[in-house]
Symmetry: C2
Amino acid sequence: MTSTTEELLALDRAAQDLLFRAARTANAFTDEPVDDAQVRAVHDLIRYGPTAMNAQPLRVLLLRSPEARARLLPYVSAGNRDKTATAPLTAVLAADVDWHDRLPELFPHRAGARDWFAGDPAGREVQARFNAALQIGYLVIGVRAAGLAAGPMAGFDPAGVEREFFPDGRHRALLLMNIGRPAVDAWRERLPRLPYEDVVTEL
Amino acid sequence: MTSTTEELLALDRAAQDLLFRAARTANAFTDEPVDDAQVRAVHDLIRYGPTAMNAQPLRVLLLRSPEARARLLPYVSAGNRDKTATAPLTAVLAADVDWHDRLPELFPHRAGARDWFAGDPAGREVQARFNAALQIGYLVIGVRAAGLAAGPMAGFDPAGVEREFFPDGRHRALLLMNIGRPAVDAWRERLPRLPYEDVVTEL
């Protein structure tokens, strides 16, 4: 970090470090449990994050018991299996493709909004995936805000997870996330990040 | 917010409010400019947010001048046009579908990673959209961390924006975002958020 960054941000330095700079994706966790009150506190914070049409399509399935975890492991890639079996908590992060059914409550000032999307399941799925991914971004930050480490994992079989956990057919499994306190050897050296000039351009 | 939430989070209350609870999507901005140093500070913070395979597919095109803005407005939905014409800064947020070309540098411990994806443009596009959306989630938080307000907008013509600004064909326009200091009348009453029980379930 440059001193300029610290000075230019309204967020205090400790919070900058907690959420971004010192935070890391954890691959190993201590045995300390993550309880419901902590998960509720994370939700209570991140639910204010914006989504298009206030649709909030993210759904979170918590797997804690050995029995619940055992149902997930066959669909997890080999490299992610051990840490997923032993993390204090694993969340399956999914998008509800029937998010439009909640619009009368969530977007009440547009009375007909639900019906615009009723005949467009393909469009709903695109929006569900995009907005739920935004919310997963907020969730990563929220888990860190709780003093916990997130271990998001894309290496799994989404179709298998959907069959096993979402037989209603209205959810798409987007990501798995282990959550807990990082173990001593929870991560390797940080991978390089793209410089500003490769990400941001001005026309 | 319940007092429980505040107590259970490691992030201090002022930061909770700045990033989530008091923060709002802005629809009107003051004339105060957003300068490059502020945008660099936001990038310098959020670039640490995790992405699958450290791919970091988000690309940001800043439109500041009236000439640059005028090229965007025809593709913006009518309801978003005025605020986009007058915001201090508008960002076009896009995903680079050729993100795999950077893997030798960004994911160096897997020598062959780039080649796994070279023949799978459809799979790359899915991953580009998902990981860039995660990064847009971090960006919303980062803009707020700089004491600014974000005005993300999904109401625009992505194909038109891609033709106009990304003729290389390797970028997908995902979202527009106005950035600045909120005007006095920047937002209406906050829309309802889903309760915990409707979002989180435990198996």
